[in-house]
């Protein structure tokens, strides 16, 4: 395709853009922080983990593909999330998409891999703060105890009635939510947070 998205003259709009003010209001109490991180680069990568291509890709992007189920690995401005035994999501900063796709395909060097730019397929919501775990527990059946799902863990699972990629960080969680579900998940998070921000 012609130009990269970032250079376009038209205006981009992220899936949860309409919730910015309400997220901010819900974050005012301090115990909880809700926010959208829009426009992150997300590349879906499928490759046989035992293939030379997988190793070359790890070297090329500076992050070995994590092979332990449910883990994430980071390096530089990239993070690689395990989605399945031969599937990863490579997450990078806004605008990194076209270049990253090229690097991945080059590293594969003709071996069978699947590299698909899915940056607009999901948006990223932050659920952070002391109450983050409590808030998510209302809709996520995973055990989010820090001993079980601490930083470096990720999982594809359900939050309420939406599929999400859940990533544990030092300060809380990131939810990668399908764009069409972003409004539902945002409304759900705000509804849950009522109990925590009102001092309930």
């Amino acid at each position: 395709m012609a130009d990269s998205a970032a250079e376009s003259t038209a205006e981009r709009r992220s899936p949860a853009a309409a919730f910015a003010a309400r997220f901010e209001a819900a974050s005012a109490g301090g115990g909880l922080r809700l926010a959208e991180i829009p426009f992150l680069t997300q590349i879906n990568l499928r490759v046989d983990p035992k293939s030379p291509a997988a190793e070359r890709i790890g070297t090329a992007i500076g992050v070995p593909l994590p092979v332990e189920p449910g883990t994430a690995a980071g390096g530089g401005d990239l993070e690689v999330l395990w989605l399945g035994p031969d599937e990863w999501l490579v997450v990078g900063p806004d605008g990194a998409g076209p270049g990253l796709v090229e690097r991945l395909i080059e590293a594969a060097d003709g071996e069978h891999v699947s590299v698909v730019d899915v940056s607009a397929q999901r948006t990223t919501l932050v659920v952070a703060g002391d109450r983050a775990r409590d808030v998510l527990a209302h809709g996520c059946a995973l055990d989010l105890h820090p001993r079980v799902f601490g930083p470096g863990r990720c999982a594809q699972t359900m939050l309420a009635r939406a599929g999400v990629v859940l990533v544990a960080g030092e300060d809380g969680f990131r939810l990668l939510v399908r764009s069409s579900f972003a409004g539902y998940v945002a409304e759900w998070l705000l509804d849950v947070s009522a109990e925590y921000v009102a001092g309930g």
């Binding site: 998205a5 205006e11 709009r13 698909v116 899915v118 209302h138 539902y184």
Partner: protein, 954 residues
């Protein structure tokens, strides 16, 4: 200062005002509605469901069968037990005649749910539960301790026992405060465990604001469902006392002995002034002594046994309480409440009538085994206990304390319960892989008198009364008497399950907590068999009633189900579009024209939108179509196997329509396939089937063809899509994409081009779902709104919705999978023989096209229907018959209408239908019911507009 005539001296606490059955009363903080009513001398609280007999408080917990009330304020709630309603200031309630009334206004409260995980879940914070939780928690295990009451202590709340020299209630409170302070412990008060399912999935409901009345904080969920996954569960659920069937055993003033003891000790309330005690075991002696100590005159203890516990008998003698061994109560008597009790020796001698306003009954104690049974555990009858106790289970669950029947005499002993609880805690730790704490301190309890064996008497026979068992109740809440049980057994029923269904005993709101075993005992007695042999009915969730609101949690209203929207949704909403639910998606249905005057109706809007698409230029948000990137050297082979037609011959840059079938040959989905590169395709699916098609592809790749080097990735929401339709679509596209050659030779039908459209990088596909010249413009969904706004900016493009899309495609005879098909339709049935490859050796579904069934001449074919009256719109789903008058049922139907619309292009109504042998019937007249009439229709080809396809190139 109010007068609470039955309140014990020295009771203290904040005074709470409440209203019951229209009268003002006062109670004390810590009361239940039941204890407050008893303190005020209210004996008859409710009336019974079938017989309308007055009923009073019978128990002190969730086993209560009688005292059903309706809360009226602050929010109406029916069918609550007065014994479990915590008193609050301003409570307004009424007694119920066995059934309540639903509120006629929406419930303003919030409800929610939480998932929780733990190493050990302990159900019940009585002595055994606290002991188990303490052991587990102090070893560092993640522990949840759940108890249904507002405060911990369980049975200790009802007794005057001491532990480590402190009142049991204080011990429990302090232990639980200490437990709750541990980082990995969660104590859930007012939380009833309702259900125990596979793999230790346990459902509990926490009542969080009910006890606060109008003071409940607004943001706080009123009730919360806990979904707990526990590695191990300890059921320390204690026991329920049961009663005995005798005449008049339902009169207000008859009460379970343990409940009366609880009212005296825990609530500082005297349930009466002068009591007779009727018992089969030693536990009622402790109740009698506690009540006597509280100031109730104990007129006599009638013990069915010849030999009660010696120590208990001695203590009664010390207090001057007469113990009548070998006696039974043959009747409770009185008008509306107990005024005297008839006591009769079991052998010889006449009855005597003892004046009393209170009759305490203990027919023994039944371990609460509901959850153990729900979890799949077996139950076995314990002869000594006279009850069913936990047996075997495959789940990681065990009962502890009285729930396991420890003690062996049918009477709970505090020491045994504490030790058993601690043991259960130890076993749970070991099972969860925790190191055992060095020392486990079990608090010291007072010496308890040795108990004598209980005698299990279910029924006090009434031979002198001609065997009239009409007031010998076994189930108070269902008004089931021994007479009815005898009718059931007399009718030949020999299974306790059948008797339950025949008499309804045990099926009420209380689920027979006090009556289940008693019913079984009476049945066994009537049949002359052992209770053990008879067995018990099955325990099912929920343990106590639960409101639908709690179960729904926050999955209601706007959060009932996810609402999926496209990147352009805000524009549609602002433009006043009406939306259609397509799966979870909200799609614009039609856009009524805005302006002065009355709004445009759907029919006018759709006719206008259709005309724009056929005669001018119109656009639709088509973003909801499923999209799957199929990548790999074997992608073409893979698609050849899944689609009925050939995909491997598709050239890069071109597009082909395809149909997928199930192995049975029935249409599963359809859509377009775009070849992006030799090893890369983009497949579109119907909106509703996006996930199903991806799953389908993965299923074949993973389970049947793992050798194929193909990967499938969903990109449904990566792309936003605008369908630009109509004879003028080319000129609009040319303006939006000045760099794109749009003439027919440069950009022919069923090809795609990358281009910049409105300054946005885009992939433009020349495909048409309307038969008109049309394009689908795909951009990153981040730019979906910008693209749509650019398309609409000139004001010359008419937005259209799904209704118009349906009309346009139906005029062309394009079927919608799931509307014109239903899982029994082949491509050939749809008139698409051409899409079924003869060349390919195999594809999914091919073999089924050689089955006799798929070539029957009377299969239903997709055809068009033209009502003879061009103004008549056939209802979708209407069946078709051959005659103008309906024959006698069963009416032979030839098929049914699948799609029906008004067409601007045809100037009339039309329909698509699946009709038996339809293609052979073209030209025939059939009839369809419209309201009360059978209207004539003519069968036509399913392609009604532009059959030669002259319009697609503009």
């Amino acid at each position: 200062m109010s007068v609470q005539p039955y309140r014990r001296e020295g009771a203290s606490g904040r005074v709470l005002r409440f209203r019951f059955d229209g009268r003002e009363y006062e109670g004390l903080e810590g009361d239940t509605l039941a204890s407050a009513l008893l303190a005020n001398g209210v004996r008859a609280v409710a009336s019974s469901v079938k017989l309308g007999r007055p009923r009073g408080v019978y128990a002190a917990g969730c086993e209560e069968p009688n005292a059903l009330v309706q809360i009226e304020e602050p929010f109406p709630e029916p069918m609550l037990q007065a014994t479990t309603v915590e008193l609050y200031d301003g409570l307004v309630a009424t007694g119920l005649p066995g059934q309540g009334r639903l509120a006629d206004r929406p419930d303003p409260a919030r409800y929610d749910a939480v998932h929780a995980h733990c190493d050990v879940l302990v159900v019940g914070a009585g002595p055994a539960g606290i002991a188990a939780a303490s052991v587990a928690a102090r070893a560092g295990a993640r522990v949840i301790l759940a108890d249904e009451r507002p405060e911990p202590g369980g049975s200790l709340l009802g007794t005057a026992e001491t532990l480590d020299g402190r009142p049991g209630r204080e011990w429990a409170a302090e232990e639980v405060v200490a437990l709750a302070a541990l980082p990995e412990v969660r104590v859930l008060r007012r939380t009833t465990v309702l259900g125990h399912y596979d793999d230790n999935y346990v459902i509990a409901v926490e009542r969080r604001t009910n006890h606060l009345g109008a003071q409940a904080p607004a943001g706080m969920a009123r009730e919360r469902v806990w979904r707990i996954r526990a590695r191990r569960v300890v059921l320390a659920t204690g026991g329920h006392e049961r009663f005995v069937a005798f005449a008049g055993n339902d009169l207000p003033g008859v009460m379970l002995a343990g409940a009366a003891r609880t009212y005296a000790n825990r609530y500082r309330v005297l349930p009466g002034r002068r009591a007779v005690v009727f018992t089969t075991n030693d536990s009622a002696y402790a109740a009698a002594l506690d009540l006597a100590g509280a100031g109730v005159e104990i007129a006599a203890i009638a013990d069915v046994r010849q030999a009660p516990g010696e120590a208990w008998a001695a203590r009664c003698a010390e207090r001057g309480i007469e113990v009548l061994t070998g006696h039974v109560v043959t009747a409770a008597k009185g008008e509306g409440e107990v005024s005297s009790v008839e006591i009769t020796p079991r052998v010889g001698g006449g009855a005597r009538e003892v004046p009393a306003d209170l009759l305490l009954v203990s027919g023994g104690w039944t371990p609460v085994v509901h959850l153990f049974s729900q979890a799949g555990g077996t139950l076995r009858y314990d002869e000594e206990l006279g009850a069913f106790t936990p047996g075997e289970t495959r789940q990681a669950v065990e009962a502890a304390g009285f729930a396991r029947g420890v003690g062996g005499t049918g009477v709970r002993t505090l020491r045994a319960c504490l030790e058993d609880g601690a043991e259960a805690g130890r076993r749970a730790l070991a099972a969860a892989g925790f190191a055992m704490p060095a020392e486990i301190a079990v608090p010291s309890a007072e010496e308890e008198p040795a108990a004598a064996p209980a005698e299990h008497l279910w029924l006090v026979e009434a031979p002198e009364n001609d065997g009239d068992y009409g007031t010998h109740f076994v189930d108070l809440q269902r008004d089931v008497t021994v007479a009815e049980v005898l009718r059931a057994t007399g009718a030949g029923l020999t299974s306790v399950e059948h008797v339950k269904r025949y008499t309804t005993a045990g099926t009420a709101h209380d689920q027979g907590k006090t009556s289940g075993l008693l019913t079984g005992g009476v049945v066994a007695h009537a049949l002359g068999v052992d209770v053990a042999e008879l067995g018990t009915t099955t325990f099912r969730a929920p343990y106590t009633p639960v409101s639908f609101a709690a179960l729904a949690g926050r999955d209601r209203g706007p959060l009932h189900d996810p609402v999926r929207v496209t990147a352009m949704h805000e524009w549609h909403a602002a433009r006043g579009a009406l939306f259609e639910n397509v799966g979870q998606w909200k799609r614009p249905w039609y856009y009524p024209r805005q302006g002065e005057g009355p709004g445009e109706d759907m029919e006018a809007a759709v006719l206008r939108e259709c005309r724009a698409a056929r005669e001018d230029v119109a656009a639709m948000d088509a973003s909801t179509l499923g999209k799957i990137d199929v990548i790999g050297p074997d992608a073409a082979v893979f698609l050849d196997r899944l689609y009925t037609n050939m995909m491997s011959t598709l050239k890069v840059g071109s597009i082909r329509y395809g149909v997928m079938c199930r192995p049975d040959g029935m249409v599963f989905d359809d859509g377009t396939v775009i070849r992006l590169a030799d090893d890369r395709f983009l497949v579109t699916t119907t909106t509703g089937n996006a996930a199903a098609v991806l799953d389908w592809m993965e299923e074949w790749l993973q389970t049947e063809w793992p050798d194929l080097r193909v990967c499938c990735t969903s990109v449904t929401e990566q792309w936003a899509t605008v369908a630009l339709v109509g004879p003028r679509s080319r000129e609009v596209l040319a303006r939006l994409a000045p760099g794109l050659a749009v003439d027919n030779d440069s950009f022919p039908f069923m090809t795609w081009r990358d281009a910049e459209v409105a300054g946005i990088e885009a992939r433009v596909c020349r495909i048409s779902f309307s038969g008109e010249l049309a394009y689908e413009i795909n951009v990153s969904s981040w730019f979906g709104l910008a693209l749509w706004e650019a398309v609409m900016a000139s004001g010359e493009v008419t937005p259209y919705g799904t209704e118009t899309m349906h009309v346009l495609r139906a005029e062309k005879g394009f079927p919608i999978v799931g509307q014109d098909t239903d899982g029994t339709v082949t491509p050939q049935d749809l008139g698409m023989e051409w899409i079924v490859s003869k060349k390919k050796p195999d594809f999914v579904g091919k073999r089924s096209f050689a089955r006799a069934d798929t070539s029957r001449p009377d299969r239903k074919h997709l055809v068009g229907l033209l009502p003879e009256d061009p103004g008549v719109l056939l209802p979708e789903g209407a069946h078709l018959v051959e005659t103008s008058a309906l024959p006698e049922p069963p009416v032979p139907t030839l098929g049914f209408v699948t799609s029906s619309y008004r067409s601007a292009a045809l100037g009339r109504t039309f329909a698509l239908a699946l009709v038996s042998g339809g293609r052979e019937r073209v030209g025939e007249r059939l009839y369809a019911p419209v309201g009360a009439d059978l209207v004539p229709v003519t069968v036509t080809s399913h392609v009604l507009y532009d059959p030669e396809g002259a319009r697609r190139d503009g």
